[in-house]
Amino acid sequence: MAAASLNSVVSAIQAKFQVAQKTEFRGETTLTVERTEIKDLCAFCKDTLGFAMLLDLSGVDNFGTEPRFEVVYELYQMDTDAHLRLKIAVSEDALEVPSVITIWPTADWHEREAFDMYGITFTGHPDLRRILMWDGYPFFPLRKDFPLAGRASDMPDVAFSKAAPLAGGPFVTVPSTATTKDREPRSREQS
């Protein structure tokens, strides 16, 4: 039932908006759409198609490709239990995405997190401050070119940061059926 309704949803979207790519994977539908149309499309999805809930909004850093960033919207329709994923590509030169906070108020903190971690600016957001790091932190830590250990920064009377001692790490566990001795976490260079 969900799949049938999702097909009509996709065709309704395709009739009104540009859909660059449609992906089906394990019953999950992902539509890659235009960045400029995302706000109208989200309003259409909520008001006309009944996607009342925004489950998640996150950023993705595809470092080395162009456009570098993506923003992913995870939509949910409660009546038919249908999920829909929307993706937009965001270039590093124009890191601006229209905010969907007026459509789903829950987008508030999600957009703040994406801004905090990737530096993606959401235009129209009423309070776009960092949410996990402190105001004035100079880096965007989930970008792929940012080291796990972090970088030194100093903001007097607010906070400072130093690079963490990794001591050969990060240490990763290799999933296997081998003994505990072989499975225990070790650095990628040693494994």
Partner: protein, 175 residues
């Protein structure tokens, strides 16, 4: 006068006098009434709560009065992961605590950053405030916290509060 009650005021015991050094008396009073500032930041706080509850009962060591006001507390128990964003709040609360004050770094995270070798976590609370006792464990069991508290009590016994007060007073005259 005929004594009829088995319980009576005994002037020989009540009137007795104990001689001691004032340093020892102050240390004795301080170490047996350590009011903690429970700085519970992660899972260590759960063990801290267990240490405060009936089974482990930190009250046996005079440290059951968890004060959520830093003005009334003597020992800050940093229990958990100190993120850089939280570090400022921890420091500010420490600065608000009146002297004399002590600090227990409870668990791997508070002692050294623990397993969080990452951009977001302060690598040990001792980078910001002086720590008296480090407790290993991830998280430490309540017994380990009690042992840490007893170590702190033993450390307090070795202090010379009056001598230090005198020294500070003389230094203030000279200044």
């Amino acid at each position: 006068m005929l004594q009829t009650s088995p319980v009576a005021y005994d002037s020989k015991i009540e009137g007795n006098i104990i001689f001691t050094q004032i340093d020892s008396a102050m240390n004795w009073m301080r170490k047996n009434s350590l009011w903690p500032m429970p700085m519970g930041l992660a899972c260590c706080a759960i063990e801290l709560m267990a240490a405060g509850a009936s089974r482990f009962d930190i009250a046996r060591f005079g440290a059951e009065v968890m004060r959520f006001s830093p003005r009334q507390s003597d020992v800050m128990i940093v229990a958990g992961t100190v993120t850089y964003k939280m570090a400022l709040a921890v420091k500010r609360i420490w600065d608000q605590m009146p002297e004399p004050k002590w600090c227990i770094a409870m668990g791997a995270c508070a002692s050294s950053g623990g397993m969080y070798r990452s951009y977001a976590v302060l690598q040990g609370i001792d980078q910001l405030i002086p720590v008296d006792v480090y407790i290993s464990g991830c998280p430490p069991r309540p017994e380990a916290l009690l042992e840490g508290l007893m170590r702190l009590q033993r450390k307090i016994e070795t202090e010379h509060p009056l001598r230090e007060q005198k020294r500070e007073l003389i230094a203030s005259f000279n200044a």
